[in-house]
């Protein structure tokens, strides 16, 4: 199974939405515990009246989806598939609060309507009047990967020629507070670009929306090729799946999900001593923060690297030797339970 990536759009804490060249002006956040997206002017992409009722995740999702389709010159995709780990957190919280505060009486249904995980995928379909296949995955660190696997199967089955697929998660003040109490984030404010060097527990919270136009056909818009997507549930050790990972071929570069959490990052360290030994390495979560669908941001970066044949300095983990980059393996894990490996190749 494979898929050509013919369009990309990512809204993130970086300038990824506007930037022509990958990470041309990387944004550093100093003294922070969470990263928020740099949001574009939405009015250029959809009706401002419609936008007024949309929560941030819907706006970010719909906007990046629209730009991705424009980029790939696709009007009506054969499938719209999304992945979101936490779903529409803002609207879910709003409705929960209204139930409690109003003692279940006279509630405004809008936040409830917009609280379901499929809201972004459905909103895109509604705007495009797209009656084709539509699916949404909501499974922690597998959310985006599951959407990719579904997409690649649809292409292989001949059910679709062009697919819009994306990963979206939003961070809200309450979500940050709760996940902070759960110990997910570093207690001290950090400088984002030094995230991997703190040697302490916890990571930096983040969010983002990245959409991709996938196709079974290569064309002049083609940026890169998605050659393999694998998920590993709760492996006893990272080496457990070495054979499967090795079967996808030797990458010229690995992009690792290092998130600054001292115990979680040991997984990557052990892989770098094992199957990733002597393979140049890069990382990305200091740019976007940690969230369930961060691998969608990583895929946007990997495809950009293939297109430009250049690893932005800011992503390099150590001295990445210059050379042609034909295969990039993105390896990520969420809380050492959801491991995934995505191989992106040149065409």
């Amino acid at each position: 199974m494979e898929a050509f990536i013919n369009g990309i759009s990512a809204i993130s804490p970086q300038n990824s939405f506007e930037e022509e060249r990958l990470l041309d002006n990387p944004v550093e956040y100093t003294g922070v515990r969470q990263l928020r997206c740099i949001e574009p002017q939405y009015s250029a992409y959809f009706d401002p009246m419609a936008a007024r009722r949309m929560s941030r995740i819907i706006k970010m999702g719909v906007c990046s989806a629209m730009k991705c389709l424009q980029d790939a010159e696709i009007k009506n995709p054969d499938a719209i598939i999304t992945g979101t780990g936490m779903g529409c957190v803002e609207d879910t919280g709003k409705f929960l609060v209204s139930i409690i505060e109003n003692d279940e009486k006279l509630l405004n249904p809008t936040p409830f309507i917009q609280s379901t995980h499929n809201t972004v995928g459905a909103s895109i379909a509604l705007i495009l009047k797209c009656h084709n296949y539509n699916n949404t995955y909501g499974h922690r660190g597998f959310s985006f990967e599951s959407a990719l696997i579904d997409s690649m199967m649809l292409l292989q089955e001949g059910q679709a020629n062009n697919i819009l697929v994306g990963g979206i998660d939003e961070l809200t003040p309450d979500l940050f507070t709760i996940t902070d109490r759960l110990g997910l984030w570093k207690k001290e404010p950090v400088d984002s670009l030094r995230l991997k060097d703190y040697n302490s527990r916890g990571s930096l919270a983040g969010e983002g929306s990245a959409f991709f136009a996938l196709s079974n056909r290569k064309n002049i818009k083609t940026i890169a090729r998605l050659s393999s997507v694998m998920t590993f549930f709760n492996p006893a050790s990272p080496s457990e799946n070495e054979t499967k990972i090795a079967n996808t071929g030797k990458p010229d570069l690995v992009i690792l999900g290092i998130n600054g959490d001292s115990s979680g990052d040991e997984v990557y360290a052990s892989l770098r001593k094992g199957i990733f030994r002597n393979i140049p390495a890069a990382y990305y979560k200091h740019l976007c923060g940690e969230y369930d669908t961060s691998s969608a941001f990583a895929l946007a970066m990997a495809a950009g690297i293939i297109r430009e044949q250049r690893v932005p300095d800011i992503m390099k983990l150590d001295n990445v030797p210059a050379g042609e980059i034909h295969n990039i393996l993105i390896y990520n894990h969420l809380r050492n339970i959801n491991h995934s490996a995505i191989m992106v190749s040149s065409c």
């Binding site: 139930i99 279940e104 379909a125 084709n132 539509n134 549930f233």
Partner: protein, 401 residues
């Protein structure tokens, strides 16, 4: 691609029974599970009926065979009970013998516990027990089931509102057809919560008298809870093990109505496309369908939209049709799987389930649902519809082996 996807086991828990046999018995005796809310303290408990699984969380923990101290949402418990039943029903003893995946669906996940957390959290952001919020996300119940059943080869969660578990069945079938899995445990679970009770109530679509699908005087849906799972296996595995299948997933279709975030289009365009896709995939023509288990929520909008689509597709000869939601209520993310089990039961028992509560034919439609248990029919092919918020529509066709 593998030839056929076989169903070798089914498990179910709902307001009309805790096991496959209990549920069949309720369907056969027209015993509805709609009644007074007992396990949730809502201001609407005396005003609106619900289809609740009549067991406390502690009782469910015992049925799910999990330790009393374990942190489980009600959705996880319902899911685990039905999942264990499905595996046992299929005679699956060694889960790792074949590449086995779990595709589970839910829309509320651990919202029951989140609600407990949030009422305290709202007063003080340092309050609320963290053990009540760690089960919030959709993936939690899936991972609990995967861990308990030892499933490792593919694990994911689908959340497309009320079509969620129909899409789980669709995905599991495709993973087998694409030879990525040999076996898949597919289905979904959703518990009743204040969140969904108030959500549907704020939309003013909860019938104060209990739902009456396809009735001219219908006035909304009844919310229910439950879980159901099917064990799907490839033809290759069936041939090797000689296992007896209880049916096949003959076809599936997924389409988007793309009309409105919550309302269905008046002509049921999305429903028509999803049913049509299921027929194309199965190679079965509409005249070969012996029974339609409709989505039939009982809302004015759904039943008209679905009814119009059914009439258009079956062009004047609509086969026996019923909605079983007047038994189980609308179980949201679990509905597609629960009704898939009802479809399999119809094939296994060779009967057509009635649609209790129906009195008057809808003025806009030329057909009425089945009102009495029908044992006179030969049931070979069943069409099951599941439609959700966002216009996410999925139709499945189940066939006799």
């Amino acid at each position: 691609m593998s030839d056929r996807v076989f169903i070798t086991g089914a498990g179910i828990i709902s307001s009309i029974g805790f096991t496959y046999e209990e549920v069949v018995s309720s369907l056969e005796s027209s015993r509805s599970g709609i009644g007074r809310l007992m396990h949730i303290d809502s201001v609407y408990k005396d005003e609106i009926p619900f289809a609740e699984v009549n067991a406390s969380n502690n009782e469910l923990k015992e049925l799910a065979q999990v330790p009393g101290s374990g942190i489980f949402s009600r959705t996880s418990l319902l899911g685990l009970i039905a999942a264990r039943q499905a595996l046992a029903h299929s005679g699956t003893e060694n889960i790792t013998e074949y590449r086995t995946g779990l595709i589970s669906a839910t829309t509320v996940g651990g919202m029951d516990r989140t609600e407990k957390f949030f009422s305290k959290f709202l007063k003080d952001k340092n309050h609320g027990r963290l053990r009540d919020v760690i089960t919030h996300d959709m993936g939690d119940s899936t991972e609990k089931i995967a861990e308990a059943c030892g499933i490792r080869d593919y694990v994911t969660t689908i959340s497309t509102a009320c079509s969620s578990s129909a899409n789980a069945i669709l995905l599991g079938s495709r993973l087998i057809e694409n030879r990525m899995l040999d076996r898949a445990l597919v289905g979904g679970a959703d518990a009743l919560t204040l969140f969904t009770i108030n959500g549907f109530n704020s939309l003013m679509i909860l019938d104060r008298n209990g739902c009456r699908p396809f009735d001219n005087d219908r006035n909304g849906l009844t919310l229910g809870e439950g879980a159901a799972y099917l064990v799907l296996e490839s033809e290759e595995v069936i041939n090797k093990t000689g296992k007896k299948a209880i049916g096949t997933v003959a076809g599936y279709g997924n389409a988007c109505d793309a009309f409105h975030q919550t309302a269905s289009s008046p002509d049921g365009n999305g429903a028509f496309i999803s049913m049509n896709k299921a027929f194309m995939k199965s190679g079965i023509t509409p005249d070969k369908i012996d029974y339609i288990n409709a989505h039939g929520t009982g809302t004015k909008n759904n039943d008209l939209s679905e009814g119009k689509a059914v009439e258009r597709l079956f062009a004047g000869s609509v086969p026996p049709i019923s909605s079983t939601k007047s038994f189980t209520g609308h179980t949201l993310g679990a509905a597609g799987a629960i009704e898939a089990v009802f479809s399999i039961m119809a094939i296994e028992r060779q009967c057509i389930w009635p649609n209790p509560g129906f009195k008057t034919r809808m003025s806009e439609l030329g057909f009425a649902p089945v009102t009495e248990l029908n044992r006179e029919m030969s049931v070979r092919n069943v069409l099951s519809n599941s439609f959700g918020f966002g216009g996410n529509n999925t139709s499945l066709i189940f066939s006799k082996c």
